[in-house]
Structures are given as structure tokens and as C-alpha cells.
């Protein structure tokens, strides 16, 4: 049967550098007097050496390409979902600027149309003012005659 020492359990954290200073000093001293722990530590170090015998693995040629392809696929799925989700949650916020823009365009169009009244229409308006005095202009001779004869009063 394998001999054991109550301090053997400390050898794992000792080897892993996980013991506080005072325990390290204790184990170092203990190892100088305990054959069981010395053998145990040697065995653990052998195991460590065996594990480090294994080599790293090479990265295959198409690893990067495959990975970035997956990233692209993810991005392609994510972007429509992002916009769809945003509109679903914020359609009121989204529709407000659209409506404001529409009203602004209508307003600007109306103002521009008012300013761009054709010349003929302007003349017509001016002539309408003259038509108010049409009777006066048409009967100017009579009025002058009446004035000469001294007839006064409102015409």
C-alpha cells in the first residue's frame, strides 16, 4: 500500500504557486525531511512534464475563411432584424419626422405658387380696380359739362 503524508495535499497548490509565503517556507522545509512528499512532488512534476509533451495543433488553412464567413452570415441576418425591430418599437417616432416633412413640402409649394401668379392675372386685377371707376370714366364728358354749369353734389 502506498505510504501517505498529511502534508501531501499541499504539494499541488505548492507546485501551482497557490500557497502563501509562510506555507511555502513550511513545505520547503518539510520536503527536506519527508521522503514521501519528496517522491510525491517528483511524481507530480513528472506528470506535468508528460502533459507538456503534447504539441500544439496547427490551424487549418480554411479556418479563418470559414470563421469570417460565419461572421458575415450573422451580420446579414442581424441588420434586417435590427431595422425591423427598430421600426416595430419606434414607429411613432419614425412617422413624426416623415409627417412633418410632408407638411413642410406642401406649405412651401403653396407659398411658391402664390408668389408665382402669372403676369396676365396681375394685369387683370389692376384692371378690375379701373372697372370700379368705369362709370366715371365713361361719363367724363357729362360730368365736365355739369361742372361747367355749376352743378355740384355727389355724382
Amino acid at each position: 500500500m502506498k505510504k501517505t503524508c498529511p502534508h501531501c495535499d499541499l504539494l499541488h497548490p505548492f507546485m501551482d504557486g497557490e500557497l502563501p509565503e509562510d506555507r511555502i517556507r513550511f513545505i520547503e522545509h518539510h520536503l527536506s525531511i519527508c521522503r514521501i512528499c519528496t517522491d510525491e512532488l517528483h511524481s507530480l512534476q513528472t506528470l506535468k512534464g508528460l502533459l507538456h509533451d503534447l504539441d500544439d495543433v496547427p490551424v487549418s488553412m480554411d479556418f479563418d475563411r470559414n470563421f469570417w464567413k460565419k461572421v458575415d452570415e450573422y451580420e446579414e441576418k442581424r441588420l434586417p432584424a435590427l431595422f425591423g425591430g427598430w421600426f416595430a418599437r419606434r414607429w411613432r417616432v419614425g412617422i413624426a419626422p416623415l409627417l412633418a416633412t410632408f407638411i413642410l413640402i406642401i406649405g412651401v409649394t403653396m407659398v411658391r405658387n402664390t408668389q408665382n401668379i402669372p403676369v396676365n392675372d396681375t394685369l387683370l386685377v389692376e384692371q378690375l380696380d379701373l372697372y370700379q371707376d368705369y362709370d366715371v370714366v365713361n361719363n367724363l364728358d357729362v360730368l365736365e359739362q355739369l361742372a361747367r354749369e355749376g352743378v355740384t353734389g355727389d355724382l
Binding site: H12, E18, S60, F63, F67, K70
Partner: protein, 197 residues
């Protein structure tokens, strides 16, 4: 620790924060720095290169997806290996792995990649290759948590506390996992230790 030979932990966190703000080049830098480490970790878990690369891509994709929500609560290396560990442990639980492992055993492909790679080296003895195969088999025979704890400790130099974070375990729990893992490995590899052990 040897994990951050090129970049310091602060730089890695900085890069991840830059990525969270949309800088994809920052992610590329981290990806290149960790690609081989993560593939090697997954490979040591399953000793199947195809599966290791498949899982590694899944791990990096998780990191990519989590980019915008990243909060630097630990070293970047601790965080990415936590994702890697959970991905590997999940894979271990899947039925897929159960069926796959049968086919690997039947083809004797376990550690075959290791052996195949080494076969290029004319100086490598048959005994050394056989020993590597036995080590691979011994590692693969360990329960998932013990395997993860040992790999994180032996090959990636994480502290017991960091491994505890990665495995959602206490430091004493990690100590116990590593202890039992080593004992199991020694039992499996007793021929390698001579008559004393």
C-alpha cells in the same frame, strides 16, 4: 504567465471596449492573438481537430456577438476561456459527442492528429508517439470539470481563482478538481511513472 506575450491584459480590455464601440479591427487583433490558444484548448478537450475548429469558431462568434454588451469585469483571457470552457462542456454533454466518440475510437483517430503531425519528424521515436497517445487517452478519460480545470491550469496558466470564475466553482473546489484530475491521470498513466508510484 505567458498568455499575453504581445498584448497586456489592459490592452486586451481596451481592444474589446473599442470593438464594443464598433471598431472591427480591434476584434481582429484579439482574434489573431487568441485563435491558436483557443483551438489548442478545444483540441486538448476532445482530441478531434475538426471538432476543435468547429467549436473555436463558435467561441469566437460568441465573443463577436457579445461585443456590444461587453463589460470588463475580469481579464479578457479569463472571459474568453470561460466562454470556451462552457462551450466545450456543453459539447461534451451533447449526444453528438457521444456518437462521434464511438467513431473516433473505432478509427483509432484519437490523438491520431498528434501522431500524424509528429510522424513528419523522423527523429521522433515510436515510443514517444505511443506515450503521447496514452496521455491523450488519459486526458480524454477525465470528467469534464476535471479536464477543464487541469487544461486551464497546466496549459494556460490560470490561477485557481480564475479557474473558479470560469467553472463557477470556489477556489477550494478548483483545488479539489485539479487534485483529483492529477490523481486520475497518474492512475491512467501509471506505466510512465516507474515502480515507485
Amino acid at each position: 504567465m505567458g498568455l499575453n506575450e504581445v498584448m497586456g491584459p489592459d490592452n486586451e480590455i481596451e481592444l474589446m471596449l473599442m470593438f464594443s464601440k464598433g471598431d472591427e479591427n480591434a476584434f481582429r487583433t484579439l482574434y489573431l492573438a487568441y485563435r491558436k490558444k483557443i483551438i489548442t484548448y478545444c483540441y486538448r478537450f476532445f482530441f478531434d481537430q475538426e471538432l476543435a475548429e468547429e467549436l473555436s469558431q463558435e467561441i469566437f462568434l460568441k465573443v463577436y456577438k457579445a461585443g456590444s454588451r461587453y463589460k470588463p469585469t475580469a481579464r479578457f483571457s479569463t472571459w474568453i476561456f470561460k466562454i470556451a470552457t462552457h462551450t466545450c462542456l456543453n459539447e461534451l454533454r451533447r449526444e453528438k459527442y457521444r456518437t462521434r466518440i464511438d467513431s473516433i475510437d473505432s478509427e483509432d483517430d484519437m490523438a491520431g492528429r498528434e501522431i500524424k503531425d509528429e510522424s513528419d519528424n523522423a527523429h521522433e521515436s515510436i515510443e514517444a508517439m505511443e506515450r503521447k497517445k496514452r496521455i491523450s487517452q488519459a486526458l480524454r478519460s477525465l470528467p469534464g470539470n476535471q479536464r477543464a480545470a487541469l487544461l486551464l491550469r497546466e496549459y494556460h496558466g490560470f490561477s485557481y481563482k480564475e479557474i473558479g470564475d470560469q467553472l463557477n466553482a470556489t477556489e477550494s473546489g478548483v483545488k479539489s478538481l485539479i487534485h483529483r484530475g492529477r490523481e486520475n491521470l497518474r492512475n491512467e498513466l501509471h506505466d510512465e511513472f516507474g515502480e515507485d508510484s
